[in-house]
Assembly symmetry: C2
Homo-oligomer: 689 residues x 2
């Protein structure tokens, strides 16, 4: 059994990846077969779909242009520095990673626009069917993305390994790093482009619609309404799918690098992470089935489903560990449990800070009674508080898993944590689908009860969205050591080629250049957030001007006698988002190149760590604050503290608007941004040092 798995383990993993795709296709067909409601619903859904497709195809074009430039740069620089075979393979890996990341985003969007109108229709029957429809839409994305990642990484590794043969194993690994870079860089673009789009449309629509004209959310008289709904699909669905693809692929590749650096002659170390991910597919599918057949209340059903998946995964990992590592299975199995526990713990922590039933959100809601400023202060404080527990558990996880099996233990904990991405993304995609479903209900003039059902699901969706972002960023914290050590290992391997007696580079905190590197790395997330928030502000400003122009040119729009031109808003926000995403997305790449060129390898190593240290806290606090603000508003809208129209509600709307770029643009983009910094650093070693 052991030798079979060592021989064919990656094939087995790829087969399980294909299983994930197959289940996703079945679910997708089930979603597609569902009722799409009235003609008006179909018409509006078609408009959203059209806008989302139009945006995504232009985003793909823009990103592809940048990717082509990078492809050539990688090919030439690596080709000259290392050799044309390696340069070609790395550049090819980059293309695979980039394409899959784009594909993941495209799938996420396609499924979401299928599911939204069907969820609205399902809500006419009840909360349970609506929950299932939205969740299944999310599950399709989740399973497809995981299946895609497992198949792509496994398949590409097998090809590269066969191409370079055993002697040049290092070049095969380099090619994998190329794949990781493609995945990460594209997912920063997708996260940012989609994030800027969705929040510019949302904030722009709110500023003129809700605040100036006193329109409700999703009022069809608001010319930015369709753009707002398109945003949910291209930002929260497409951007998120690309992000999770990246996180999953990079953590898997990271574990492969660690295994190759530390246990070059023991292939089971390299194959184990693939099988872990494969088995987790089975666990995720069972969890998804449970949520589909269960009868629990929505907010519980989702958490219980995740818990069930985690338990099943834990049970499946035991025999795998015992078979592949007969003598030392305990030290391998414990880290897998640590990873699963971290999944559940991060979900529970973020749930506490962002769900309407707990103290933090209620505190923000209460603070809204005394106005805008106290709402903001309370929300900011909640986000800051939310950083403590994740840090504690990340530290504990690193300690335990390192104690078990050193760096490989940590790498396994990361892979195990991310192996459940399939079901976790289902939770994330669930939110924007219900949000869209609610919008469709209002625009299609369905009875108010429908909107009430989708609103309740939306509040759960807000929490789940925050939860999965906390999960992604926490996994980056857990992976910090793996990423940094991969850099150190690659650096040393490279130096040994140049000077056979090169001593390992040290990274002592007492060296000034290390401190400077930590400072530079530390400032990157702050700057990144500053630029991305500005980008949302600028793009939202463009939307505001267009909406004001339309309302002025055609006064009939507000009276309902004239139809607004949704298309121009979609067009403007598309252009603005694509334009504004480029600089912040390239900022981490630029920073790495500058540090490498001017300060050298030591400082660059410290930059990697500095970025993770501040990025972890900034990411957690932004996504938690944002989720909590949104749900504090929802809590007030349920009739607390005066309900809709009260002073508290006006303050809560302000908090929600501030939280929008926090939770949907800047915060979630920090995770792929950290990865880009780390992977670019690994990739440029032969060029600079």
């Amino acid at each position: 059994m052991e030798s079979f798995l060592i021989q064919y383990g990656i094939f087995v993993a790829i087969a399980l990846g294909i299983l994930a795709v197959a289940v996703a296709v079945i679910l997708a067909l089930k979603v597609r077969a569902a009722d799409t409601g009235t003609d008006l619903m179909r018409e509006i859904a078609a408009a959203i779909e059209e806008g989302a497709k139009a945006y995504l195809s232009r985003q793909i074009k823009t990103i592809s242009a940048i990717a082509v430039v990078l492809f050539v740069l990688i090919l030439i620089s690596k080709g000259i520095a290392v050799g044309w075979d390696s340069g070609g393979a790395t550049a090819f890996g980059f293309v695979i990673g980039a394409s899959c990341s784009l594909l993941a985003g495209f799938i996420g969007m396609r499924v979401a626009v299928l599911a939204n109108v069907r969820t609205t229709q399902a809500a006419t029957i009840g909360a349970q069917p609506a929950l299932r429809m939205a969740f299944n839409g999310g599950a399709v994305t989740g399973l497809l993305v995981v299946g895609l990642a497992l198949t792509a990484v496994g398949g590409f590794y097998l090809c590269a390994d066969a191409f370079f043969a055993q002697a040049d194993h290092k070049k095969a690994l380099d090619a994998l790093v190329g794949l990781a870079l493609g995945a990460s860089l594209i997912s920063v673009f997708a996260r940012l482009g989609g994030g800027i789009y969705t929040k510019a449309a949302d904030v722009g629509a709110d500023l003129v619609g809700k605040i100036e004209q006193n329109l409700d959310e999703d009022d069809p008289r608001n010319p930015a309404t369709i753009a707002d709904n398109v945003g949910d699909n291209v930002g929260d669905c497409a951007g998120m799918a690309a992000d999770v693809f990246e996180t999953f692929a990079v953590s898997l590749i990271g574990s492969v690098l660690v295994a190759a650096l530390s246990y070059a002659d023991q292939p089971q170390y390299l194959i184990f992470p693939f099988l872990l991910c494969g088995l987790a597919v089975i666990a995720s599918v069972i969890g998804i089935i449970f949520i589909n057949v269960g009868t629990l209340a929505p907010s519980k059903a989702l958490l219980v489903g995740v818990a069930l998946s985690a338990i099943i995964a834990g049970l499946l990992f035991l025999p795998l560990s015992m078979v592949m590592f007969p003598t030392e299975w305990v030290s391998i199995y414990v880290p897998t449990l640590v990873g699963l526990a971290m999944t559940f713990i991060t979900v529970m922590i973020t749930n506490y800070y962002t769900a309407t039933e707990f103290a933090p959100v209620r505190k923000i809601a209460k603070a809204s009674e005394t106005g805008h400023a106290t709402n903001i202060i309370a929300g900011l404080a909640v986000g800051l508080h939310a950083t403590l527990l994740p840090v504690f558990f990340i530290g504990l996880s690193i300690l335990i898993s390192y104690y078990c099996h050193e760096l490989y233990g940590v790498a396994i904990a990361v892979v195990s944590m991310l192996s459940l991405s399939g079901i976790i993304i289902s939770l994330d995609a669930f939110g924007p689908i219900t949000d869209n479903a609610g919008g469709l209900a209002v625009m299609s003039k369905l009875p108010k009860e429908i909107r009430k059902i989708t609103d309740e699901l939306d509040a759960i969706g807000n929490t789940m969205k925050a939860v999965t972002k906390g999960y992604a960023i926490a996994s980056a914290g857990l992976a910090a050591l793996v990423l940094f050590r991969s850099y150190v290992g690659e650096l040393q391997a490279h130096r040994l080629i140049l000077h056979p007696d090169a001593v390992p580079t040290t990274f002592g905190l007492d060296e000034p250049i290390i401190l400077i590197g930590l400072f530079i790395g530390g400032v990157l997330p702050f700057l990144f957030v500053a630029y991305t928030m500005d980008a949302v502000g600028k793009a939202a400003g463009a939307v505001v001007r267009e909406v004001r122009r339309q309302l002025l040119a055609k006064p009939g729009i507000l009276l309902g006698t004239d139809k607004p031109e949704y298309g121009t808003c979609v067009d403007i926000v598309t252009k603005a988002a694509l334009q504004e995403m480029i600089f912040p997305a390239l900022l981490p790449v630029l920073a790495v190149l500058l540090v490498a060129g001017f300060l050298g390898a030591k400082a660059l190593g410290a930059v990697l760590v500095g970025t993770i240290v501040t990025g972890l806290f900034v990411g957690i606090s932004l996504t938690s604050s944002g989720g909590a603000w949104d749900n504090a508003k929802k809590f007030i809208e349920e009739g607390n503290y005066g309900g809709k129209g009260s002073v508290a509600h006006a303050a809560a709307v302000t908090g929600d608007t501030v939280g929008d770029p926090y939770k949907d643009t800047s915060g979630p983009a920090i995770n792929p941004m950290i990865k880009v910094v780390n992977i670019v650093a690994i990739l440029i070693i032969p060029l600079f040092f």
Copy 2:
């Protein structure tokens, strides 16, 4: 000359410290001799003075109780671990540091309440006399604090050195660390207590007064008005003075430790920093005289005065370096210039981000047109942007000064940067004095033109306050390496006593325990801000309830027929501030003890660095955002974007209120908090490791 300075250098420095005190006394007499205006002005000023004295005496009592406990703990633990002579001296140093820090705060408050009413009166003559009166009030504090610090550190060092004689020089240094701890810990309390007081009163007064009842700032019908004005004195003046005393004393002590660790047998290294501070007193005095006789516009006069002081200090440092280090003076002189340049650069950077004439504040003002949320987003983004340039220059300064003279070069750059504190604090105290003066003008029913003059000066004061906070926190960033290396040096010295062949502890970024330490250290500033913002929220809530109660019980207050009870508001906010300050102030101490106990010396070292890395950015972004919001409001009140009463103004008030705890409570307290973490770590080495 060289041997004279080596023999009597510290005496010379103490003499120059006494000179600072003498000039301060002359200025104070000049301030006191000025006209105090009408009877009504005197009456209100007396009420503010009474409230400030009452708060400060209760704060001193509370802090003294905590200090006594710590004194006993230090005495016993250090006595048992190292010896009773060392324990006694360290505990005695703690008392000296704590007392001087309290005294500095007390002086800051006394001078401010002298100067505020006289500034109001001076404003009836014109802007120039008002500027000078407020500035001189600040200058008294600045010179007294610097003189006190120089005399206390120098005098205590001479005494301890004489007591322990040359053989046990290390114990004399330990006693100095005790002094540093006393200064730092008390200044965290003073910063927090005063910061919570001032912002709870300010926010509380605004929430009911401005927002619910539509009263103007400082309307005497608002029962919290006096408390608000008391807050300026106990927070911005007393808290700031304690903070600067701490920063100055700790950087001087840090350089002494570095000199003792690296150049034990060359006393000129140890004496040089004292003389640097002494000569800077002369430069500061000349700058202060210039501002008093100059005729430049207020905003320019202050910056030119600082530049003049820096240039004179640079000229004075040259002969000193040449005399004391005849062969290597260049490598000593350049770091002093780096420090002076850093002073000027940090001042200019923060000035750019927070002054009304530059783009960032105008951007926030413009964003206010579209409402509360966009104002907040723009303000948050400005604070985040403001982190980039300081990091760049801090990194550059460390590189240059380390290249010149290794760690000692960095220590000298820090001392040189802080040597101009005398004139820099004058700028800081200037703000709250003019703020109070404006309040007095309104409450004393003086003509509106007076308030216009004080408002203009107040806008400059806001920028200057942000500037000095940026300066303090940037100095902490520059000092990071010195503080960390002091810890490492002390740790190794201690280990060598226990095991004569102990190898130095390493702090490599590739060790998991180091990464965990960085994470734990990194989360501390975030948590600290979370708790302090909550504290302001809670205390402000108590004020709001009291004001509402009074307005309900006596409806005549709003009609002007009944007098509000100012005293009860002062009393409530006093109690609330003292109660709320304790936990956040002890949080860093607690964290250090927990890490030392559970994770050990390596992790603790990483905690120190992690705290500085995130603390630097959090501190800069909070103080910059806060200052920028405040001035964006002032800019709108000058008549831009609709002026007072417009939608933009309402949004700007929200931003200002959010910025209040940012810039006056949480942000500035991060600097002493970082120091506490570092000094406690150094002090507990013999107890834990």
